[in-house]
Amino acid sequence: MLIYLQTIESPAEQSKFERLYQAYRRLMFTVARQILPTDQDAEDAVHDAFVKLAKHISKISDPVCPKTKALTVLVVERTSIDLLRKRRPTAALDEADFGVQADPTQATELARCLLQLPRPSREILLLCHRHGYSVREAAQLLGISEAAARKREQRAREQLYQLCKEAELL
């Protein structure tokens, strides 16, 4: 027996969601498979990531564009890492070892500062300040409580501030 909660609202959003699905499902699977040990686990992560994205589809203006592509990767990475933790509850996992490794060669100094942040800090800043999600929405996409997300966002800003100061950007 499989049970799902679906919360897609308008016809435009439904169409948007399907375009997003068609465009990025294979990329999302590729990213998930680099983190998870089996195809089935990776498919589970892709499914769960799409369920999360469906709930927040209204914030996506263009379903097929680099920005949305990056969002789908972020969500499926987080979902995959969380699933891996469930599968290996006793193993120590360094999140820096998993997921897409950003290419820093063409990154600006400012971008490098943000990329140096621990993955959870980076994720919350990208969701809130790049994709325009509220802290509450970001919490739902990341699978954490709103309070935890709020603290994380605050801490991430402070961490980034320190890194920018050290890089003499501020």
Binding site: F29, Q106, A111, L125, C164
Partner: protein, 219 residues
């Protein structure tokens, strides 16, 4: 504190670097299991013209395609403000239809079998979940959803439910269809427009008793 504008710029530039590091897509044929699971999420997107129907027309269409009313009073039907149960392919679907949303409240079981304690609360408004666990690792999944336009609960890979009484209300009971699987009870409180989904290794009687003793509190 880092200025917002600088933060947005950093996020945009960092994202470009992340995109530059993306792996090449590997060919993959998604399994039938995945396709079956993702279908309910996509289904309405495949037929946007159907979803475009206005409430009254939509209800007529749903009735014509096999949807049935589920224990709602006349006033609620007239107001087009209710949960509907129907079937889509092999899935049973509970969908809320209204132009307005229902205010969220806090719900919890007023009774639990001995030894169970709450281990997780998940606020995913309009759906909320509480998970209870005993020392043997048995879990009770207690989910409640408030009427919110576009919200739907899908139950697939399940045999047709049987109607059972929970106090004055009629609930749907889905017995486990796999060895060691969980029984499921879906109950709609039409006065509060809340849908409850209880999924556990409990007997039908225990599920009914649990559902009869749900506490609904104002937030």
């Amino acid at each position: 504190m880092i200025p917002d504008e600088l933060l947005r710029q950093a996020a945009g530039e960092a994202e470009e670097a992340i995109l530059a590091g993306l792996p090449e897509e590997t060919p993959h044929t998604f399994s039938p299991r995945f396709c079956r699971r993702i279908a309910p999420v996509l289904r309405r997107g495949s037929h946007p013209h159907r979803a475009a129907a206005r409430a009254a027309g939509l209800i007529l269409a749903l009735l014509l395609t096999g949807f049935v009313w589920l224990s709602v009073d006349t006033q609620a039907r007239n107001a087009v403000f209710t949960w509907l149960r129907g079937t889509v392919d092999t899935a049973f679907v509970y969908r809320f239809h209204s132009q307005q949303s229902v205010q969220s409240r806090s719900c919890r079981p007023g009774w639990l079998p001995e030894g169970y304690r709450e281990v997780k609360f998940w606020d995913d408004d309009p759906g909320f979940s509480r998970i209870y666990e005993n020392d043997n690792g048995d879990t009770i999944f207690f989910q409640y959803m408030f009427g919110y336009s576009g919200t739907a609960l899908y139950i697939s890979d399940a045999p047709p439910p049987t109607s059972i009484q929970v106090g004055d209300l009629t609930a749907d009971y889905y017995p486990a269809n796999t060895e060691g699987g969980k029984n499921c009870l879906v109950l709609i409180d039409p006065s509060a427009n809340i849908l409850f989904n209880i999924h556990a290794n409990l007997t039908q009687d225990e599920l009914v008793y649990l559902a009869q003793n749900i506490i609904i509190e104002n937030k």
